[in-house]
Symmetry: C2
Subunit: 435 residues, 2 copies
Amino acid sequence: MKIVDLKVHSIAIADPPLRSSYGLHQPYALRTIIELVSDEKITGIAETHGSDAIAKGFEALKSRVIGADPFRLAGLLIDLVEGDVQGSSLDRSQTFHVPGENPLDMKQRLYSALEIAALDLCGRALKKPVCDLLGGRVRDEVPFSAYPFYKHAGGGGEGADARPDEYGEALAPEPLVRQVKRMISLNGFKDIKFKTGVLDPEVEIETVRQLHRAFPGLPIRMDPNCAWSVETSLKVGKALVQELGNGGYLEDPTAGMDGMAAVRRGLLDAGIDTPLGSNVAVTCFPDLEESVRKNAVQVVLCDVHYWGGLRAVQHLGKLCKTFGLGLSMHSNSHLGISVMAMAHAAAVTPHLTYACDTHYPWSDAKDEVVVGGKVKFVNGCVRISERPGLGVEIDPDQLARGRERYAKNPYRKRDDEAEMRKHVDPNWKRILPRW
Amino acid sequence: MKIVDLKVHSIAIADPPLRSSYGLHQPYALRTIIELVSDEKITGIAETHGSDAIAKGFEALKSRVIGADPFRLAGLLIDLVEGDVQGSSLDRSQTFHVPGENPLDMKQRLYSALEIAALDLCGRALKKPVCDLLGGRVRDEVPFSAYPFYKHAGGGGEGADARPDEYGEALAPEPLVRQVKRMISLNGFKDIKFKTGVLDPEVEIETVRQLHRAFPGLPIRMDPNCAWSVETSLKVGKALVQELGNGGYLEDPTAGMDGMAAVRRGLLDAGIDTPLGSNVAVTCFPDLEESVRKNAVQVVLCDVHYWGGLRAVQHLGKLCKTFGLGLSMHSNSHLGISVMAMAHAAAVTPHLTYACDTHYPWSDAKDEVVVGGKVKFVNGCVRISERPGLGVEIDPDQLARGRERYAKNPYRKRDDEAEMRKHVDPNWKRILPRW
């Protein structure tokens, strides 16, 4: 079997006005869908971040991909990930780059998508689910988390394409709790990952307390994406020891390895062992040595899109287990192909110690490119079926509509800061720490 | 596809009287060959350490293996390896257990063989080489090392089954160099892994110097299996800085993590950065955290038989790369199925930074169980072919003869110390450090 074509589809999907310390989500999130077509007319698919830059990256790899045996593609392209090195501290991290917009991990992102599409292709050819090409599932049901955001009114999209606002505005504790109630009632999530770093920390502390009261027993993690100083991080950690200590964690409270290490030391000195998670300070294998040496991060958030694919997540799982670290999974605005890639990665990674993050409830069914519409969460889980490959197929009409949205709209890279200036404050700048 | 049978064959193979700090090799080495048979009448094979104990271990797992989908077997049995924990220092290590005789890694050894046999079975079913089920080869040719030993006269086997002594006695520098010349002329090896810890260190230093003169430019590694004190290790390291510094390493000079760390510090203090390798202090994932923290070991020797299989070696490779460690591969007395499992592991592990060890030149063609006789080294390398699975088949007559040898001979576990008392010194005991 040989790969005879690599098709690259840049699409746009509506995205509600979600807030984070990076700023504000634009009305559309960009995704790239790739198709690897074999000489047997079988197609393997994957989904990753979108932008003109990544689409060009795939085009540039075509000559290496076309003609390759999909069973060997990951080995053939190994140079894209094996030479990975740590960038100079904050440059390589996601402190100043939103995920998918860091030029230093472009090769990892290209590789991940191609590895996943090749696995999907092989799985379809063999009529085997992807997880069973990776050693076999260790779990059939993959748990995901509710992922509440402070948000402005609006459901994403623009103009005639504006979408209904399913969740409404949430810029205070009470509407945020209502948002989570709806998200959990629809999906059955058993964990809450809460995007913070947006409002005054006192308001966010109050929000977590109200969440804890509304959902007793559900682990809560809090992710301010580096918005806080070490002092503020310690203040929040100490205030919420009961709420976050209940199986949750504090994710990237502050910027940089040294900042994270200082927060960890300060919490431990206060007798608080709530772990620190990260997908900002630690974003790649080369970050791990420093993180372990400094005890900066205790829970690594893997990502099938930028850590180097599904096998890389398996490697990372073993590494985390070996060094006594927890493993969680990061998410961006995405569609069902990414859901399934994440679920298969989780299914074959024994040491995944937390429910996966997902922005999927924020996506609109109108934008879904997989046949049959959005993948369902049942009791907060995605079930790994017996279907071959990732278990989903592309609906070509939906894909075409996604391409049209991309072509029509002016967004060509994610820029949460520009969006913030456009809609909230013309002088807004990302300041770290903000509090 | 379902597994319908697990066949377990305990065999014995002639082994020459090789010396190490553990003692003397017995006239027969014990191996176990397993066969996983599918409902489609396809058979997957693997080879591992031999003993009644491991054969019983496989029997005890039969109820979990039979009926399983071979694509899912590694996931189904993940509990055998995922709960692995560090033993209390020297107990878990191979300081006082020869490889294959440590009860604390029995589960890992069973798992490894079953994972490999399942991969071979899947590869045969799909007509794909094993390496291409693991992401695809990153190299087609896998380099192995010459593996000289001090040895007594004799070619292994006993009584009427005694084998010709191809290499002759070697208990001094000159015959040892002759041994390596022959081994290299027959196999084309480009590295030398030298088993030491047998003669007075001054004699071994002289042997390494003669090897270095005889094979200028060939990396030499020296493995005394913990026979030396920290002081002696430093003395040898300082004496041989030129010879071992040329791409070689010093393997397990002394016992224990703290001893290894002390040797490393002492060498670095003397301006010598010859790395320390280990398959004694570090034998499993749970050892790595302590080793990294103490900087005890800079080159980890993986082993497809006791680290948990081929995927575990891939995980270990990524971990070693991440923490700036080298990766090499350990060997025991073995046949061609193990050669090929090692070669496929090496083919899919980008960060394998040294040629693999192998005892294979010490085995007698008469004992080989693979069709066509012994696997060939060409320019010191095993070539990964396009053949499905591991690329070798069992010769049932040869396997039957191996079983007969096992049944006839009295050896039921490897005991190098008993053999030393029997043939060399009735009062011999393993003393660490001996020098």
